[in-house]
Amino acid sequence: MHEHDVIVVGAGGAGLRAAVAANEEGADVALVSKLHPVRSHTGAAEGGINAVLRDGDSFESHAEDTMKGSDYLGDAPAIETLCHQSPKETVQLEHWGMAFSRDDDGRMSQRPFGGLSFPRTTYAGAETGHHLLHTMYEQVVKRGITVYDEWYVSRLAVTDHAEPEDRECHGVVAYDVQTGKVDAFKARNGVILATGGPGQVYDHTTNAVANTGDGPAMAYRAGVPLEDMEFIQFHPTTLPSTGVLITEGVRGEGGILYNAEGERFMFEGGYAKNVGELASRDVVARAELTEINEGRGFEDDYVHLDMRHLGEERITDRLENIIHLSEDFEGVNPLEDPMRVKPGQHYAMGGIEVSENGETCIGGLYAAGECACVSVHGSNRLGGNALPELIVFGARAGRHAAGKEMETAEIETGPAASIGSGDVDTPVSPGSIDTSEDGVAADGGQAGDDRATDGGAVVGMDETVERALDQEQARIEHLLEKDEGVQHADIRSKLQESMTENVNVFRNEEGLKQALRDIREAREAYQDVYVNDPSRTFNTDLQHTIETRNLIDLAEAITLSALARTEFRGAHWREEYQDRDDENWIKHTMLAWNEGSPDLYYAPVILDGEDKSYEPKERHY
């Protein structure tokens, strides 16, 4: 058994920043990550970090842009914290040596991005995330912070108290991918989940293969509600063949979108008469799909993004990486031809419900980064607002977990924040499947599974951790022991197809219900899943099998939340409900696992900030 003050699960931008912050507070901190830190998907971020750094820009303006972008579903305390602290955190990265692009006067360069009223997206070429990730990892190396790399975390060690807000998280269980050894990690102070996005729920995504939403799925099953899961961002410019992202920076620098009839449709089609290509992502993604669906796309599949007029020099200076990506992954040289682009899954606005200090409703359990929902992004994230979220809220969670005195959060978490329960009519019942003990072991069950048989609740620190270790060993043994059945790859690909078909940019009731049926089928199939690879050494078959269970839970959470929200807001478009309904729907969707029978309720959106009150306005770009 390993023991540290703070255990950080995940070593992307958020996890690394959290670990450094906890270390600076004097805590003994360890990172546990299924990938070596530099392999994390933060490295793929291209465009930049929004930060108010220059004369003429202001926090208020950044906050207002973000609130408008969120379509009035972001929480003011979260947004204001982000806007106030991003400049300091961004300069901190510079002090740690990050290779930002530079203006002639030697200061960090900033560029325009969609939905921003000032060019405040601070960048390092079109590889900002790569530089951020490596700079952060360098700081971890410098401080000698312990890293357990290629360790897969598969369970949280959480006490059995009946109410989630009474529970405590005392550690995690993980296995060493290289040797298969299952071991427990006891956390004296707290566990911070920083496991990144859930993009693998879809099959056309800018996310990495490792982005399987393990953190949200584990937290959900342990009793933490998932917030606003219906809001999935589809990025308007991804390469059609692979889903590789072409940064919004291309449009920021002046790139133009054309349909097959040669029209600059963002203006000519009336989608965004003022700012055209620089409208918010949800607006551009819907415009493209409308063009394609109405027969004005190329090969019924994509539109063109042209940046040739910017000239080779400017492109090489600011967007060089884009030339490589388009050439290597689509075979198009963007200096000579327009690039092919279409919308693809990109980002999850929702996630593990947390406060501005990263706390969940379970004591000692924190979350930060894309896996968490504070909520800064509401129903639609602005480009360039995720990277600052990683460093601002990563650092805050790290400090809080290390025991630093911080102001009490304004955002309340857990069932106590409920303002009423939700209602949704589902064609099949969601949640876990009641089966034999065999089935429970296969899908991992949840913390507290053997509560009844034990005759009493497990509440102590050591027994909680030991029990979680036993449960996980039994589950992994079960998966490896089983000789035949269904393989995860079959379940996963069907799930991804259904989600891409039914829970995409355009959604309707029938599609969402179909997705729920398909998800149920996936759950049933999963009862019979087995791991074909018998080896303990680097068993990726086992890892992908466990991840697939997580994908099922998250797909269901996304779809249930989407079916329940009968309005059109931000990234969530409903065929039957074409208006934003402020009267009934300015509220966060909350989904609690509730021991396997998901419970839907709502929590308030905080529009009153410290600086001002945000009045919902109609969103025009």
């Binding site: 990938l35 070596h36 530099v38 392999r39 994390s40 998907h41 490295g43 793929a44 300091k88 300069v91 510079e94 002090h95 740690w96 040596g97 290779a99 930002f100 692009s101 530079r102 002639d104 006067d105 030697g106 200061r107 960090m108 590889e127 790569h130 530089h131 490596h134 360098e138 410098k142 990495a208 293969v209 490792a210 692979t242 889903g243 590789v244 992202l245 490589h324 990506l325 290597d328 992954f329 075979g331 490896l480 022991e481 089983k482 000789d483 035949e484 995860h488 790859a489 690909s493 791991v531 074909n532 690879d533 018998p534 080896s535 303990r536 050494t537 680097f538 068993n539 990726t540 078959d541």
Partner: protein
């Protein structure tokens, strides 16, 4: 359930682990047959023949390293990584390799493809002239299983050059850096720690302690950054001038040829040698 029956039948002196390995290798034989069958039902999509290195110290049938053949569909645009994923998901879920981003940025899938170090995700099948396409783990590193090699030594070398910024920084203001200087270090900052260069280097193969091209490039990245001062540069040069440092390089350019990020590694190493000479003149 049939699994339980089997279990009692094979119960003997063997550990459960061994029994499991045995049972599963049986199942593997069946799938092999299925694979051959699928090949013969030809369709229109072009296919590619992959020859993939297999090894698992724990599994009887894979203890002796061998090559497995896979025939997978490869329409235009298919990368070696796509082909491997297809082979794994459709034919043999035990096929093991590292991968994550699929876009040449995470550095997980440096492989030995048709005899040279490349990223699987960045290599289009149609750009390879040799058939079958041979896929092997990176040479000169210990193989853990199939295409997965032990990267620990590579990481140790990277970390040996104190790969972190050590400049003095102002309180709140950003530091200034000229566009020229940023340009100077730009290529060196693109490294994704894939290990291709190290694996291609004859010197590194012969001298385990040689820092290697990636680590020297990492040191270059900081040594040439004007935001660090001369004392720190001196300290960095000391690390590079040690016995297993820059002077080992014999400018064979193999690292530069394989680097998927086009980093001019040999040039950077040469420049560090020149800096070292300058440095020594100064201090003699």
């Amino acid at each position: 359930m049939s699994t339980q029956l089997q279990r009692t039948e094979t119960e003997g002196d063997e550990s459960p682990q061994e029994q499991r390995l045995e049972r599963k290798s049986l199942a593997e034989g069946e799938r092999e047959a299925q694979r051959t069958e699928e090949e013969s039902t030809g369709d229109e999509t072009p296919h590619v023949h992959l020859k993939v290195f297999r090894y698992d110290p724990e599994v009887e049938a894979k203890r002796e390293p061998r090559f497995d053949d896979f025939r997978v569909p490869a329409p235009q645009g298919t990368t070696v990584l796509d082909a491997l994923m297809y082979a794994r998901d459709e034919f043999d879920s035990t096929l093991t390799f590292r991968h994550s981003c699929r876009q040449a940025v995470c550095g997980s899938d440096a492989l030995f493809i048709n005899g040279s170090q490349r990223l699987g995700c960045q290599t289009q099948i149609q750009d390879l002239d040799q058939r079958p396409v041979r896929v092997e783990p990176l040479p000169h590193q210990e193989v853990e299983k199939d295409l997965v090699v032990d990267m620990e030594h590579f990481y140790d070398q990277m970390e040996a050059v104190e790969p972190y910024f050590q400049g003095e920084t102002p309180d709140e203001e950003e530091q200034l850096q000229s566009r020229e200087n940023r340009e100077k270090v730009k290529m060196s900052t693109r490294c994704i720690w894939c290990g291709a260069c190290q694996s291609s280097c004859n010197i590194a193969a012969g001298d385990n302690e040689y820092l290697g091209p990636a680590a020297i490039n990492k040191a270059y990245r900081f040594a040439m950054d004007e935001r660090e001062d001369d004392d720190i540069k001196k300290h960095r040069m000391n690390i590079l001038e040690q016995e297993h440092g820059v002077w080992r390089c014999q400018t064979q350019f193999s690292c530069t040829e394989v680097c998927p990020k086009d980093i001019p590694l040999t040039e950077h190493i040469q420049e560090m040698k020149r800096e070292a000479v300058k440095d020594n003149l100064k201090f003699w």
